[in-house]
Amino acid sequence: MRVTLSGTRGSLAAAGPETVRYGGDTASVLVTTNGFFLALDAGSGIRRLGPMANGRKRVDILLSHLHMDHIQGLGFFDPVFDPNVEVHIWGPGSVRLDLEQLLGRYLSPPLFPVRIRELAAVVLHDVQPGSFQVGPFLVTADYVSHPGATLGYRLEHDGRVLSYLPDHEPALGAQEFPADPDWTSGHDLMLDANLLIHDAQYTDAEYEQRQGWGHSTFDHTLAIAEQCRVDRLVTFHHDPSHDDDMLDSVAAEITGRSLPFDFVPGRAGTAFDV
C-alpha cells in the first residue's frame, strides 16, 4: 500500500510561511493500493485529495472521530458532490447519536450551506470495535484514549500493517508509562506495525498544562512505538503553534537518539510504501 500524508496538523489549520515544510492542513492521509482509494480522516488536507479521485467509482473515508479538524474538509472534497462516485464514510457514533446525526451537525446550516442528505452518493457506516473489510484492506478499529468516541485503526493488506492513531493520549492517568500492554490504550492496534502514524502534539512542558486534552508528547509517542515494536514511526497532529523551525529542532534531537525503529516527522506530501 502507498501512504501519503496530506494534512498533518492538529486542532486547527495553520497555513503560513512558517509552516510550509510540515504543512498547515489538518488530518488527512491517503492510502492506495491496486487502484483502491481510501482516505484516513477528512481534515482540511482531504481537499487536495479530491482531484486524485477523478475517474473513480468508489472512494472510502475512515474517520477516527468527529472533532472539527478531522471532518472540516468533507464539504470541500469534490467526490461527495459527484453522483457518479460512491463515497463510503466510516466512523464512530456517540453513545446516543449515530454517524449521520453527528456529521449532520456540521454539514447543515448555519455551519455549512449543504446538508448531508443533499450530498450525491454518500453511504455512511457506523463503526464499532472489531474487524471489517474495506475494499482490499482488513480494517480493525478500537476505541482509544481521547475525549469523545474516538477510534484508532489498523489496516492490513498483503501481510503489511499500517496503524493510524492521530489523536491519542495513552499516558492519561497512567502512573507509569508505558505500562502493561494489556492496560495500554491502542496497544493491539499498533503492535508490530510496519508504519505507525501517531499523535505527537505536545512538548513535555505543554503536556503539563494540557493533560486530558487527548494528545501525546513526543516522548510518549516514542515510548509506545518502541513498546509496540513498530518498524517506522511518523509523528503527526502537530500543534498549530509549532512552526517548521521548532519541529525541525525536535526532529533533530529525536534523530540523534538510538531508536529501535525508523523515525520520520510527519510532513505533508511525504509518501511511504508499506
Binding site: Y143, G173, D182, W183
Partner: protein, 130 residues
C-alpha cells in the same frame, strides 16, 4: 489482549481513588483492584494479579451481617454483571488473612460505547463501627 478503553480509563481513575475499587470483566474475573482494595483484601495486585471468577468465592467468603450465607445472586457485583444495573449491600467479607470486615459495597455495570457490556465496578466502604 488489551482491555477496552473504558476499562483502562476506569483502572487509571481507580488508581487515584482513596476508596477500595474492584474492576471486573464481563465473566466476573477480577481484573484489577486498587491500592486501598489491596489493603482491605490483604492481597497485592502486583503479586496476585487478576483473579479468576471461580477463585474469588474461595478466596473471599461473604456473609450477611448475622453470619448467614449470602445468595450469590444477591451480591452487588453479581447483580451489576448479570442484571446490568447498580446495586448496594452491606455484608461481611473474610480477607485473605482470615479476618472479617464489615463492608458497604456499591457496584455498577460498565456499559461501553456501542452498548457493549464490558463488566462491572465495585466500591467498598468499611463500616466505621467495625
Amino acid at each position: 489482549m488489551a482491555q477496552p478503553i473504558e476499562m483502562i480509563l476506569l483502572r487509571q481513575w481507580s488508581a487515584y481513588q482513596a476508596l477500595p475499587v474492584w474492576i471486573m470483566d464481563v465473566h466476573g474475573d477480577l481484573l484489577y483492584y486498587n491500592e486501598p482494595a489491596e489493603e482491605l483484601l490483604g492481597l497485592r495486585y502486583d503479586e496476585a494479579g487478576a483473579i479468576h471468577a471461580n477463585d474469588l468465592a474461595a478466596r473471599f467468603e461473604t456473609t450477611n451481617l448475622d453470619g448467614t450465607a449470602i445468595d450469590t445472586e444477591k451480591l452487588p457485583i453479581v447483580i451489576a454483571l448479570t442484571q446490568r444495573h447498580p446495586a448496594h449491600a452491606e455484608m461481611r467479607i473474610r480477607t485473605e488473612q482470615g479476618s472479617w470486615r464489615h463492608l458497604h459495597i456499591t457496584a455498577f455495570p460498565v456499559e461501553g460505547l456501542g452498548e457493549r457490556h464490558l463488566g462491572a465496578v465495585a466500591m467498598f466502604w468499611e463500616n466505621p463501627d467495625g
